[in-house]
Each structure stands twice: as C-alpha cells, then as structure tokens.
C-alpha cells in the first residue's frame, strides 16, 4: 500500500522538482545575494548586510522607476479593468451575438502580437517627423501638440504605458465578457422591471456580479505593472536620462550594464515583495470567498 502511494507520487514529482529548482530556489537565493556586493568579472563576494537596500533608498533612479511602475499600475487598472468592464457590458447588452464575437476577437488581436513587435511599431507611430501620431495631429490642426513623444523625458514613460494599454485591454475585455455572460439574466430583467436605467443597472448588477473576476484582474494587472520589462527595453531602453526606467529595467541595467549584481538582486527582492503582497491579498480574498460560499 505504502509502496503504491510513493509510486503515485511520481506523477507530481517532475512538476515539483522543476518548480523547486527554477522557481523557489532562485527567489530564496536572490534574497541571500542581495546582502552581498559582487561582480561577474571579479571572483569573490563581499558581505554588506543591508547596504544594497540603503543604496536603493538613496538612488533617485530607483525612486523614478518605482514611480513609473505606480503610474503604470494605476493607468492599467483604469483601462484594463475599468474601461474594459464598461466595454464588456456594452458588448453584452447592446450588440447581437455574432457581431459581439467578431468585435471581441478584433480587440484581442494585439494581445497575440509580441511586445517587441508592438513596441517597435509604436516607436514609429511616435516618430517626431513622419510618425502617424504627429502627422494625424497636424492634419487635425493640432500641430502645436506634436512632439518627440519618446524622446521627451516628460512623456517617454506615457508613450510606453499607452502602447501597453493598446496591447492588453482586449485580453481583459475578453475575460470580463466571459464573466458578464455568467450573470443570471433574471437579475437584468428584475432591474428593468424596477425601472433602473442602463447606468444604474451597470453599477447595481454588473459590477457586483463580476467582482471576483475584477479582483483577480486588478491583482494580475498590478503585479504585471510592477514587472514591466520588455516594452520599456524595446521602446526607450529606460531613457532618455532614465526617465522611463522601471524596476525591471533598472534591475537589468544594474546587473548587466552596471555590473552591480548585489544591488540588482536587492531591486529584485523589492519587486518580489510588492508582487508577493499583491498575490497574498488575492489568495486571502479568494479563501474568504470560498469559506463564505
């Protein structure tokens, strides 16, 4: 009997081994490494305690990166959860079945395109001379607003954030449509009978009924925003003058350009802490839900 139980364990063994070695071990090791100063080119590691964390507190780029991640998180929640939910509700309420499927598919297409492709494409759309955005502004007589979007430190990070909204809102709209479809129709009928208008119905029926999905999406979006890497690397490389740096790209720059591996590990630990808290909140939330249900 006991033998068979251990043989059964073989089914889960590959998954557990992979996760332990490549997911858990690096996270723990990362925390340890963040207490050292070391370089790829020199042997030996010097224990410095919390020095790397103090370095982060005094590093203006670290704070700029953190602020950028926050902007990213707030904008993404507004568009990818808020606006996407309104869109999902409109698609469900107003549009016929076939057209709804078509639109949902169209909106999703950018999500199937890689961040690299989207980033390089938008780099051209933002181009100061021939880019579509400036030339559209010109045509509309708004030429005075045209400028070098990614080259200006005041707008560079917004250029990146904007591209990311274009790319991702279709994905969340799709998930939210699925959630909206599961709301029992009787609730809408009851709302209509009670004389609730469309906006009332949205807030009184739709929003509370999809709360589980929106909570999930808020957490996924927030952790995603704190891990942003690819689009920044491709579009601006964190520049100009670190204006669009995020924690992820600053980690990369510190490790592989600045060769300050311990400092990079410390930034990684900060990112880990932020996303872990987001995940833990989610876990507790769904636990409570499960118990209540």
């Amino acid at each position: 009997m006991q033998r068979r139980r251990f043989r059964h364990a073989l089914y889960a063994a590959p998954a557990l081994a992979l996760i332990a070695l490549f997911v858990y071990y690096p996270i723990v090791e990362n925390i340890r490494l963040s207490l050292f100063k070391f370089s790829v080119f020199q042997p030996g590691m010097r224990y410095v305690g919390l020095e790397n964390y103090r370095q982060a507190l005094q590093d203006p780029v670290f704070w700029k990166a953190l602020a950028n991640n926050l902007c990213y998180a707030v904008t993404s929640v507004v568009f990818q959860v808020g606006a996407a939910l309104v869109l999902a509700a409109i698609l469900e309420a107003v549009i016929g079945q076939r057209l709804r499927g078509l639109l949902r598919t169209v909106y999703f297409i950018p999500a199937a395109v890689s961040m690299t492709v989207a980033g390089l494409l938008f780099q051209f759309l933002y181009q100061p001379d021939a880019g579509l955005i400036n030339s559209a502004l010109d045509t509309l007589g708004l030429g005075r607003f045209a400028h070098d979007w990614l080259g200006d430190p005041d707008t560079s990070v917004w250029g990146v954030i904007n591209m990311s909204q274009w790319q991702s809102f279709g994905y969340t709209t799709m998930l939210l449509t699925v959630a909206v479809q599961r709301i029992p129709r009787e609730l809408y009928e009851a709302a209509t009978v009670d004389g609730a208008g469309r906006i009332r119905t949205f807030f009184a029926v739709t929003v509370p009924m999809v709360r589980e999905m929106t909570t999930l999406l808020v957490i996924l979006t927030v952790s995603g925003a704190f891990l942003v890497f690819n689009e920044v690397m491709v579009m601006t490389g964190g520049g100009p003058s670190n204006s669009s740096q995020t924690l992820g790209t600053w980690l990369y720059a510190s490790a592989f350009t600045g060769d300050d591996m311990g400092y990079a590990a410390a930034i990684g630990t900060v990112m880990f802490a932020i996303t872990f808290v987001a995940g833990a909140v989610q876990l507790l939330h769904s636990r409570r839900k499960a118990v209540a249900a």
Binding site: V23, P26, S114
Partner: protein, 298 residues
C-alpha cells in the same frame, strides 16, 4: 489566480431566448444605439489600423514611408518581405518555433501528470505539495534574473535552447496545473474507476481516459503557453547571447538596431513575426475562450 475551485460552468452558452438576453438594451434610443456602434467601430479601427499599416509599410519604399505615411504603396514590393526573411527572420522564427514547441509539450505533459496525481491519487504529503505548486503562481520570473544566471551557468545550459525551454516550462507549470486541476475536479470519476476495474493500469487510465476527457483544457493551456513562449523577452535577452540561438522577440529588436534606416525591411520582419500567433489565435479562438472561462473557475 483565484484558488476557489468551482465546478467549471460552460462558457459561451447560447442564450435560450435571445430577446430576454438583450433585455435592458430594448429601451435605448436609436441615436444612442448608433453612437455606440460608431464608438465600437472606431475602437476596432484604432486597434487594427496600426497592424495593417505595418503590413502595408513592408511593401513601400523608405521614401514613401517618410513622405506619405498614410498612403498606399505605389508599387508594392514583395521583395522586401523576401529580404527580411533572409536577413535573419527565418533563423529567429525557427528558434522560436523550436523553443515554443518543446515548452508547450513539456508544460502540458508535466502539468497534466501533476494535476492527475493531485486530484485522483493518494500521494504522501499531497496538501503541502499542492500548496507548493499553486503558491509558485505568485512568484514571478524577472525578479530572480541574477541567481537564475548563476544557476543556468552551474547547470551548463546557459546560452543553449535548454535554458529557455526549462524556464518557460518551470514558470508556467504552476498555472497550467491549476487550470487542469480545476477542470478535472469538475469531471466525474466513474469512467476512470470503470477502466481500473476492467484491469487498466493507472498509467493506461491516464492516457486513455483522462487525457481525452481533459482535451479542451489541455488545448487552451497549450495555446496560452504558445503565446507566452513565442513572445517572451526578458529570459531570451539575458540567457541567450549566441546570435544563432536568438528567438524572434530579441532577434527583431536586434534587427531594428541594425536596420535603423531601412524601415520597410523592419516592418516586413515585424509582420512575418506577428502573423503566426494571430493566425493560430483566430483559428483556435473558441477553444481559447472556453478554456479560459473554465480555468478561471466561476
């Protein structure tokens, strides 16, 4: 990811009575309705136009792109697409295809085994094991770039295909196991029990009963994994330095640096890179939506 594991409900169920379904819309005025349609159409154009523009720009000349960015190509030049293909896009494409195929296969197999073990079999320490798998969903890949570099070097797989295959698999096994487990929990066990009584081994039961039964969720898990592996950038940038092994996302970014003045070539390359996943998604759309809604529970 939510851990409430309900019995999955069927998604996209066609409404019993279309009129009742559309209920609240009936009262809307015609003007409002037209405005809504216009808004939705405008949004669709804003989403798709840049991609069409990208594909068209691959057929233009550099001069045309700069002098008349909105115009159609005067003399469409398909040669640019062929050039981009030979400029390295083909190599990147093959690398991406290899890494994606291998990690899709590995993640689906390993996760299906784990999900089966954790739902249907008596395993020692199954509760802690489950927690270990599902808890890993909260840990994200990019934070540990420094120790992962050292680990891959110690294992002698740094700068090989294996680095990407192993990492893409390891980081997605937790979520995929979660999806498959949620699905299996909603399925009846009677057929499996019948197979076992008829003398099938656990292994045979898994392959002949469980895998066919779980096909919908396995297909959507495979799609999600393909999307992830095909587009992943951070690992591919840090752990692959050999130009011959680079995958599409990193290869294209390199190419953009090399060809900073030849925009048509770059756009052709980008279009070639974007097309496979768009096509796969369009073909497998229904499975994808269904799998997502089942996987995410209620």
């Amino acid at each position: 990811m939510t851990l409430t594991l309900h019995k999955p409900a069927p998604a996209d169920t066609p409404p019993a009575a279309p009129a009742a379904r559309r209920g609240p819309a009936r009262s809307g005025s015609v003007v409002l309705r037209i405005l809504t349609y216009c808004g939705l159409a405008a949004l669709a154009v804003a989403v798709v136009y840049p991609l069409c523009w990208m594909a068209l720009s691959g057929l233009k000349t550099n001069g045309e792109i700069f002098s008349d960015p909105w115009g159609l190509p005067a003399h469409p030049d398909w040669g640019t697409y062929a050039d981009a293909w030979h400029q390295g896009v083909l190599g990147y494409l093959l690398n991406s295809a290899l890494v994606t195929a291998a990690s899709v296969l590995a993640v689906v197999l390993i996760s299906a085994w784990a999900a089966y073990g954790l739902t249907r079999l008596a395993i020692p320490f199954s509760q802690p094991a489950l927690l270990l798998v599902l808890g890993a969903m909260m840990l994200s890949p990019t934070v540990a770039l420094v120790p992962l570099t050292q680990l891959l070097q110690a294992l002698h797989i740094y700068d090989t295909y294996w680095a990407l295959i192993v990492l893409y698999t390891a980081f997605k096994v937790p979520f995929t196991t979660f999806l498959v487990r949620a699905y299996l929990l909603g399925q009846p066990v009677e057929v499996e029990e019948a197979a076992l009584i008829d003398g099938a081994s656990r292994w045979q039961t898994f392959w002949r009963v469980v895998v066919p039964m779980a096909r919908p969720i396995l297909v959507s898990a495979a799609l999600l994994q393909a999307l992830f592996s095909w587009n992943e950038y951070a690992f591919a940038l840090v752990f692959i330095t050999d130009d011959r092994l680079k995958t599409l996302p990193v290869g294209l970014a390199d190419m953009a640096g090399r060809l900073n003045s030849d925009w048509p070539m770059l756009f052709a390359g980008l279009t070639i890179a974007a097309l496979p996943m768009i096509v796969i998604f369009l073909v497998a759309q229904r499975h994808f939506v269904r799998g997502l809604s089942e996987g995410f529970g209620k």
